[in-house]
Amino acid sequence: MHQYIIKRLLLMIPTLLGVAVLVFLMLRVAPGDIVEMKYAGTGAFAPKEALERERAQLGLDKPLWQQFANWMWGIVQLDFGTSMWTGRAITYEIGIRLELSLQLALMATFIAVLISVPLGTLAAIKQDSWVDYFVRVFSIAGLAIPSFWLGIIILLGFLIFFQWLPPLTFTSFWVDPRANLIQLIWPALAVGYRYSAVATRMTRSAVLEVLREDYVRTARAKGLGEWVVLIRHALKNAMLPVITVIGLEFAFLVGGLVVTEQVFNLNGIGKLFVEAISQRDYTMVQSLVLLTSFVFIFVNFMVDIINAFLDPRIRYQ
């Protein structure tokens, strides 16, 4: 098991390096740069020399290999550099937004799990009954409705009927839990519903498959109660693909809630991503891509570890 974990951890390094090379090159290949966006974008009278001076100040006049090497050397020292747009440290810029994004991802995951596991299991047990049909309609609707659209509908409902909106600025849960939850519960519901739809369908099909396995039949033949069979034998095994789906979705939520964050004006990683891309803030985009890649890889790793814990066969492989 230890060897397995070490091997997986070491594999992260070349993956992240590959991501770093790709994002670095792709940003440089795209036409237009941050200096152009900063000055031409606002119609400022900036002579060519001023633009060149600004580029030199940002280190954009250096050869590409040198820019890349500087960036990598910084990362090795855990220095992600400064945002080319604001001049502030990238760790600071990301840090103040990460709490919101992580909390939102956790809340959406909690809502999704709370809905999907019982509903998916129920639908599997009651296959082809009205309960199953209801769950299927509910989950297909969740897949079909984009979470940002649901967010817009929630906000419009509040505005039209109550002339009210959730708070526009973030308050940490540790400072004021009520204000925090009043702001984040709505986007968490909007995102959690879509997320739960994916997990519900996965739970239903996994439980259905497991319920047909020999060991479940054996358990029933031994005279175990239906609930014991379901919870102790079927559900534990059915959870393997569900955990994988939940893990991947969680990783996506940390940096992928771009539109939902804009709809609710949430100061999270997704919104920062969009702003950084539109401003051509190279250092910020590079760091954000690395961060989200790391989250993806790390969550995948954790999912594998949990799966290995749940299924001993994985450890032996």
Partner: protein, 537 residues
């Protein structure tokens, strides 16, 4: 006697009740008639985030709106009597007869937020940074102060600007909202200190900035204008997208947005909030232009460019576009209604501004034929991928050109590639924009100078006649002479050569909660003097 006592009591009760009623209703009356009231926090939305906090360096309103309330400037525009210029930290000023020396007397008793006094040394250090920035320090508007030779401080309360040549625009430039007065001592230690820190003499003291979220300021109790500011503080909330910004106003979480909304957003807010909302509308010192790549055939031919401006029905376009977009006012080089604007009777004589569109289009077809441009000629129009007002305007212009037999493809691009293509000359025609903080020919004509003189000119042409007229108008001895030169410039740039031309000028629509008072209706979104604003409730 009893009757008299009763009468006295009745009169007294009536009198006291009247006085009490008057006392109770005074604040209400005051609020209604507009007597300023102190207190409250103004929450406003900002459609962007400040890159740095340095006004001398930045060019976006997203920096000005949250940061400017912490600072004073040497002069400023009186927003209620725009474009009148008044002193801010300057108490008075005088100009020498030859127009080469400007002497400013600085008010005494002005303090920075850390309690230290402001002197002429701070004003000099500020303008030295703007006009003669040290190595590695960006000054975005340095070019507008090219006429300044030296800045001197004969004493602690006097600043003298000596010029190389007379300038018609120096005073207005010294009233620029970007020119925050900084502390000399801090600049001496680090000329880039102000990029990440705040220390001014303005009506509000810095409290907090959470990047991407909000900015907070509180009343400066030692502000040099007694009785100001009225507000206890302000909170600027950064909301990048229009829909959540409109929703923020509608819900009352933000009371105002100082940039401007579209007609649709205005109608939405008015419908939802009724008389709780007030809408201020004016023309805006912003416009969209059509730019041609003058190095590419057939756009190197003035007949073709003239035909393309002649085809556009600006008067009818104004009626239609103003219903759905920011585009509204028909104007030439200067904002319609501004002091320098060409009167309508003269404007209609310029190519493309005539009200006889049939006649203009006949002439356009003739010119195209003469230039050898065939019927159905195809080219591309590059535009930004921003719906309002770019996309709408692109569609409008293409339709106008279709009516003289041209076939134009609309290419919408994200900011990066769009500016890159413009800079590299990788385009046929494009939609460009211009937004200035004040009505000043030195600013509005810049885009039309030769492209080696103006980085704002993407049209890739050189015209020494325009460059010469620009210099002359900037140093004109009087307004009459200046206007004469401006008309010549306009005629050559828009009519004879039509290198690039205006489509329409924008309308500025500012819906805000009725309880926000003291907000002046000015044609620029770069001005919002929070020191004048107060809340009626």
């Amino acid at each position: 006697m009893k009757h008299l006592t009763k009468k006295v009591i009745k009169v007294s009760v009536t009198g006291v009740s009247g006085i009490l009623l008057l006392l109770v209703s005074l604040p209400l009356i005051a609020a209604q008639v507009g007597t300023p009231r102190s207190g409250g926090e103004l929450v406003f939305a900002v459609g962007g985030t400040p890159p740095s906090f340095d006004g001398h360096r930045e060019t976006t309103f997203a920096m000005l709106h949250p940061v400017a309330p912490h600072y004073s400037t040497l002069l400023r525009f009186d927003l209620f009597k725009y474009p009148k210029i008044v002193g801010d930290v300057a108490e008075s000023w005088s100009v020498s007869k030859d127009g080469l020396t400007y002497i400013f007397k600085i008010r005494k008793g002005i303090q920075f937020h850390d309690g230290t006094p402001l002197t002429s040394k701070d004003v000099k250090a500020t303008y030295d940074k703007i006009v003669f920035p040290p190595q590695g320090v960006a000054s975005s508007r340095q070019a507008y102060y090219a006429m300044v030779d030296t800045i001197e401080t004969p004493d602690a309360n006097t600043v003298t600007f000596r010029l190389k040549r007379p300038s018609s625009s120096l005073l207005a430039n010294l009233a620029s909202p970007w020119n925050f007065i900084y502390k000399a001592e801090l600049l001496e230690k680090d000329p880039r200190w102000y990029e990440k820190n705040v220390m001014g003499t303005g009506p509000f003291v810095f409290v907090e900035h959470v990047p991407g979220s909000h900015w907070v300021g509180k009343k400066n109790p030692n502000y040099f204008l007694k009785g100001r500011p009225y507000l206890d503080g302000y909170r600027a909330i950064f909301i990048r997208d229009t829909a959540p910004r409109v929703a923020a106003i509608r819900s009352g979480q933000a009371l105002v947005e100082f940039r401007g909304f579209s007609p649709a957003a205005r109608d939405d807010l008015v419908k939802a909030l009724g008389n709780k909302i007030v809408v201020k509308e004016s023309s805006w010192i912003c416009n969209l232009t059509v730019v041609f790549n003058n190095e590419k055939k057939p756009f190197d031919d003035p007949r073709v460019r003239r035909a393309l401006t002649l085809a556009i029905d600006r008067w009818e376009g104004s009626k239609a576009l103003s219903q759905i977009s920011l585009m509204k006012f028909v104007g030439g080089m200067f904002r319609p209604g501004a002091a320098f604007a060409t009167p309508e009777a003269e404007l209609v004589k310029l190519a493309g501004f005539s009200k006889n569109i049939e006649g203009s289009r006949r002439e356009a077809r003739r010119l195209l034929k003469e230039a050898g441009v065939p019927e159905g000629f195809s080219f591309t129009l590059k535009n930004r991928n921003i719906r309002e007002p770019y996309e709408v305007t692109g569609v409008f212009v293409i339709d106008q050109w279709r009516q003289i037999g041209l076939n134009v493809t609309h290419i919408q691009q994200e900011g990066g590639p769009y500016f890159d293509d413009f800079r590299q000359g990788n385009y046929d025609a494009g939609i460009d924009f211009n937004c200035d903080f004040m009505d000043e020919p030195d600013y509005q004509l810049l885009k039309f100078l030769s492209s080696d003189k103006s980085p704002l000119n993407y049209a890739r042409y050189k015209d020494p006649v325009l460059d010469d007229l620009y210099e002359k108008q900037g140093a004109a001895a009087n307004l009459k002479e200046r206007i004469k030169l401006l008309r010549q410039f306009e005629k050559r740039a828009l009519d004879e050569q039509a290198y690039q031309f205006h489509i329409l000028w924008w309308q500025k629509i500012n819906p805000h909660w009725a309880k926000v008072r003291g907000y002046a209706n000015v044609p620029s979104h770069y001005f919002m003097h929070l020191g004048d604003i107060w809340l009626a409730e």
